[in-house]
Symmetry: C2
């Protein structure tokens, strides 16, 4: 039955981001034949180091505290890390003047009322997050109610004081790349717990933004990809997955491959655009209909040196009333100064609608308001809109609007026939991070390896079938 131009393998992995490549590596190490199909012309997915001049991470870039698998992968690849720069004072303003503060202190300087309220809201968020069952958030106490309200609604009651609400709003935009109006409380709490708690989520030292990688965040994945060699097929989008027969057939304009199992390591919304035969069950299809990607612009200005440090500034800033909310220092240990901003949610969508020169002026004017006029004259400028990326269509990850996680959440990891699901959205711990992507790939590879083990013991039964994978190999 197999057409002559068809290849066969044991497992096809779709997507060569950290999830897919981690899955392929584990399968390969277990002696299982694997082919990785990647739609774009590179590995890395939502991690993309631009090496036009110096390495600049246009996508995911941090290695956080507790990110053990990413850390090990970096070590295996001999990629070294360094602490995210944080030399000097941070700045915050909520209209009016900038206030300097020590970014290593737990709370920003919003005055005593706001500080107390912020501490109280943070404490409540952490207590609520602790109750989430990470493996089954839909089974957590009070899951339906927490999933029936937006983060906006919760904040309107819990943080009625404007500056505090704006500060938390800003953090939600930065962390989820979605507006507080779009995300359910249950989803936010799950994300907080998955990240190791609120402080870990928003912190540099001891938090999710602890370290950076020398040479860029795609160093480790490029190292593993080199080992996998021609088992990774770039420019190979998958349009159809057909599991009606004895095997599963994965096809697109450039490849048709027959396999025993598939790992789909893509964001759920994009996985929903593949044509499946038979079609997905309603719960899985519905989940892919309602787990949209966040929207984010990542923009860098490059300077000869991180000149702001001379003025005792760290480059970190939060402007609670600007569309460009946060800045931070992403400079390498030696060399130029890199100032970066991440603009998320509807703020990012507004940046989509203005042209490049206006956007550049808006960003550099903001950088100058933080660091002075010298910021207006960068030696280089790089920007990336993840919503415009054909094979990501958003970032950092998919999130769940109200009512979705509690009713359809269990479909995120449930295999459908011979199809298994990976991707940072499917992670239990560190979902949304590179670390979550790696762990999800490892989990999916283990699922698949277990089924192939079973399959082997029964293989003799089908050994007479010339179309079987065994005969093809």
């Amino acid at each position: 039955m197999a057409a002559p131009n068809r290849e066969s393998t044991q497992v096809v992995v779709i997507g060569a981001g950290y999830a897919g490549i981690s899955a392929a590596r584990d399968l390969d190490h277990a002696g299982i034949d694997v082919i990785v199909l990647e739609a774009s012309d590179r590995v890395g997915g939502r991690v993309h180091t631009d090496r036009t001049d110096i390495p600049i991470d246009l996508g995911g870039m941090w290695l956080g505290a507790g990110h053990t698998r990413f850390s090990e992968m970096a070590a295996s690849a001999s990629v070294t890390t360094y602490p995210t720069p944080s030399h000097g004072d941070a700045l915050l303003r909520d209209g009016g003047e900038w206030h300097r503060y020590d970014p290593h202190r737990p709370l920003p300087p919003l005055g005593p009322v706001a500080t107390a309220m912020f501490a109280s809201v943070a404490w409540r968020l952490d207590r609520l997050a602790e109750r989430i069952d990470l493996r089954a958030p839909w089974s957590s106490a009070d899951a339906s109610r927490l999933d029936s309200i937006t983060v906006s609604s919760w904040l309107r009651t819990a943080a009625p004081y404007g500056p505090v609400r704006r500060l938390i709003d800003a953090n939600v935009h930065e962390v989820l790349c979605a507006d507080p109006s779009m995300v359910s409380m249950l989803a936010l709490l799950t994300y907080i717990k998955s990240s190791g708690g609120l402080e870990a989520l928003i912190s540099t030292d001891g938090g999710a933004q602890q370290d950076l990688l020398i040479g860029g965040a795609d160093g480790p994945i490029r190292h593993v990809a080199a080992e996998l060699g021609d088992r990774i097929r770039l420019d190979s989008p998958v349009e159809r997955i057909d599991q009606r027969g004895d095997h599963i057939v994965i096809s697109g304009p450039t490849a048709t491959i027959t396999a025993e199992r598939v790992i789909v390591a893509m964001p759920p919304t994009l996985a929903g655009r593949i044509r499946y035969e038979p079609v997905m069950p309603p719960s899985r299809d519905a989940l892919t209909q309602q787990m949209p990607m966040g929207a984010v612009w990542k923009i860098f200005a490059v300077y000869d040196t991180p000149f702001w440090r001379d003025a005792g500034l760290s480059g970190e800033s939060i402007d609670l009333r600007s569309p460009i909310t946060a800045t931070f220092d992403a400079s390498p240990p030696i060399g130029p100064g890199l100032l970066c901003t991440l603009v998320g949610g509807s703020r990012a969508r507004r940046l989509d609608s203005i042209d490049e020169s206006d956007r550049r002026r808006l960003v550099l004017d903001h950088f100058a308001s933080v660091l002075g006029a010298r910021a207006l004259r960068p030696v280089d400028y790089r920007e990336r809109s993840w919503a415009s990326q054909i094979w990501s269509r958003g970032g950092y990850s998919g999130y769940t609007p109200p009512g979705v996680l509690s009713t359809l959440g269990r479909a995120i990891r449930t295999p459908v026939g011979r199809i298994h699901w990976a991707g940072t959205e499917t992670a239990i711990e560190f979902q949304g991070y590179i670390e979550g992507a790696i762990r999800s790939g490892e989990r999916a590879a283990a699922e698949v390896a277990a089924t192939l083990g079973d399959h082997r013991t029964g293989r003799s039964a089908s050994a007479h079938d010339p179309t079987s994978v065994g005969a093809d190999l």
Copy 2:
């Protein structure tokens, strides 16, 4: 450049539901060449009359007050209508006993406190809905705030009394096929105004459920489809739309057609699964990521006669504490009795997960609790899960979760290059209804006809090009 197996036409319409067929009819009447590509094996889309025995409408079926275009289409097709049966008392219970009431009275019998509160909530909803700008809900007063809260959140404050909240919950499930936790207040208010107000939305006489069609709700579309003849291609899913060249190329496994314009008359979430070249702009892509379909089961029991009328019952019932919430009489004027239920939102998803015999027992037991033991012995039983339908993947329509309509809503009707959008979700009035579908198709056809008029005046410039549509005709 055109391959020999390519066809050419002026306009391709994708989708042969009421939107697509209405668009094609108008284009045809304007002397414009059109081909309709329909993925399934029938016309009608989310309207589907099962004619196995007697006609039973498994999908959309009502012709409401103010549904002028649908009414005219029915008249043109010589399809007659009749008032939705409502002979006798309706029943309501909220635990405990059933209460009989006159369904033609504006309020259900929940006791004086609940009645007063229901009236007050309904009044507030209508007042809020009146303020919506239907052509641009995102520009309405207070749009951001109304879009930042779920219907659940609003109801928790506006209708703290359980029975009232459950009654409104039940109506939202019936009307939007989504849970109140999933839908933004701005979206609900837009829907209410688009339907002509809250009372119109939930009423039979003078409302959206006013009339039924003799012979089934797909009679009018079948009549128009017969006129269009072989310009409608069934079993022709579209997988790719390429507008990189001078024309637009629409292709799928069975057809490749070159055209000047395309009308995509599909639910947004399914339109998002087509591969576009060049890819959709971020705003359009994001809208298709976050405008999921509702979920709905429609289930009929057929009896020799509408026996409930002998007991003075209308067949209408609302059970505020049952997963099978509402029933109603959908019998033809003469002949058998049809009792119907619509189960929407997460209640529908729960019905997905039980097997057919259990579901049948659950439904018939409920029907018996409403109408007595005779309901347990229907002569026929039909069920349809719209979330399982390959080419609809939900129903009645797509809806917007919080934060979507206010930030991305304008993308719903904005053409992208030579691509225009139809479908009931794009309607200004009567969105979600057959009427909205028809109006959206007419609007899209008018948009396209206007551009082709412009094109014709410039056609001589490209007449020397042998691949141009003019030369192919």
